[in-house]
């Protein structure tokens, strides 16, 4: 069953279009920076961009910071929101259940396919950004390849690579919260669009409340609160506090939402 869902994911043109588009914005930013040589001043604009001009090795992290607030969640919400609702809308859900695929198995397979998509998206964005970054900005060979950390002493190239890998893992994990919301809504509605939009509405609401002082008491529990904490991986030494909280918070969201998704889907009348 998992194999079936992966085949569906891979054979669907949309998967590759979304991943392609996901790479477009960071690549455009890199080209603009390289052409104009106008990096934002440190502390303004997207994270890392002020540093990439001197060393392209940091550009994958910058690319993640560029797609993380909107592009990546949008694509994850589209794919996860389509998981069950898309089958319902196409009418294929009733044939899968009558096959019988088993509701829990189907849900697990859908979840695995979404996880693979998230991982694939993050890896492709990072790898593309690495090649684009090093090609356009070089590897900082002038100062021995050292990479400017966000704070503290510079990182060695080896450290930079490791921390980029950790950042990929953290970003992918952060996306699981989005995926869980979208998957849950996907079992509630028969419209994939509604499921994806619903998940995005949650994120927009969360981002909005984060800027509101009056919502201070809620902020530690908002799903997007610790997303950008992956920047802390590029401090020297790493500032773990927000990262750990981010992982804990996402884990709770994912666990609760997946339980709700399972409870809803296994007791639902398939009338689509």
């Amino acid at each position: 069953m998992i194999g079936v869902e992966l085949r569906k994911l891979v054979r669907r043109p949309r998967t590759w279009v979304v991943i392609g588009l996901l790479n477009a914005l960071p690549t455009l930013v890199a080209v603009l920076l390289a052409v104009t040589d106008l990096a934002p001043r440190p502390g303004t604009g997207p994270a890392f961009l002020s540093a990439v001009l001197s060393n392209g090795v940091l550009f994958p992290a910058a690319a993640l910071a560029i797609v993380l607030p909107l592009f990546l969640p949008v694509s994850v919400a589209i794919v996860a929101g389509d998981a069950v609702a898309g089958e319902a809308q196409a009418g294929t859900l009733r044939y899968l259940i009558a096959r019988p695929a088993g509701r829990t198995r189907l849900l697990v397979a859908k979840l695995v396919a979404v996880l693979v998509f998230v991982a694939l998206a993050v890896v492709v964005v990072t790898v593309t950004a690495y090649f684009v970054g090093t090609a356009l900005f070089g590897t900082g060979s002038l100062d021995g390849g050292a990479v400017g950390a966000v704070s503290g002493v510079p990182l060695s190239p080896r450290q930079a690579v490791w921390r980029t890998v950790l950042a990929m893992a953290y970003v992918a994990f952060s996306m699981l919260g989005v995926a869980a919301v979208a998957l849950f809504l996907s079992t509630v509605t028969d419209s994939p669009l509604a499921a994806a939009m619903g998940a995005l509405a949650v994120l927009v609401a969360s981002s909005l409340l984060l800027t509101l002082e009056a919502a201070g008491a809620l902020q530690p529990y908002l799903p997007t609160r610790y997303w950008l904490a992956f920047v802390d991986l590029f401090r020297q030494p790493i500032l773990w506090r927000d990262l750990v909280r981010g992982i804990g918070l996402q884990a709770v969201y994912v666990a609760v939402l997946l339980a709700a998704t399972w409870a809803n889907f296994t007791t639902k009348d398939i009338t689509s």
Binding site: V4, A90, A98, R99, G102
Partner: protein
Amino acid sequence: MIRTRGLVKRYGGVTAVAGIDLDVESGDSYGFLGPNGSGKTTTVRMLLGLVLPTAGTVEVLGAPIPKRARQVLHRVGALVESPAAYGHLGARANLSLLDAAGPGGSRRTRRARIDEALEQVGLAEVGRRPVRAYSLGMRQRLGLAAALIRRPELLILDEPTNGLDPRGIQEIRALLLALNAAGTTLFLSSHLLAEVEQLCRRVGVVDRGRLVLQDTLAALRAPTGAVVLRTPDPEWAVGLLDGELAERSGDRLVVRTDDPAALNARLVGQGIRITELAAQRRTLEEVVLDATTTSADRPEAS
């Protein structure tokens, strides 16, 4: 093959199925009839574990549904309401994905089974064209092929000839009759009475969520004890028949008699010419219209 007892489904305050006891035996060809909104589709969905009953039990191939659906449903082929497929993939890719999505479909024989099913429904030459480019009739054939890939013991089909042209209907009918003759049990949900009349030996009629009739087609259409005759001399015949005449429309007379031969001899003896004489049988349409009240898609009538 199919056994339901006291099957009830309520959606909120609406009762879609109000206690249905179905019995479909092995080898049967069973026509499941009823007006729109009578609960046919909901019942079919409960047989397949799609909709969970509010009360009552469903048994398919001897196993309770939905509890043991995984053990038996792979031996059932189904077409529910309309066929569905992934539009960007071709027929073979669609069938292969569906077959791989559950138990009972061996990977080793998959290719051969898919080819055979496509052959059976007349789609053997379909090639790699994506399904979104298919006509309605082709989609219907593909839906049937999906129901046939595991050579099921039981076929649960909802309007199987929907969207097909007359030749296609005839092909599919011949296919279903051949499958039934070879031992496949057919459960056909339809409101096309002509189709059921040609395919089924037993029928069940639902109305407003209840099974109002379940019998063999032969019994339902047994002679009514009257004779229908046509004559070019109706006036004369009417005068002669007097009290026996049940109904007259033009040159067509319905006459109550227990002895058609004697009636014929009597009329002919009087010089009345008879062009047609046959025992009166109710059509399935009359049976169903008698048994059911009104279409649920006419709300003002209830």
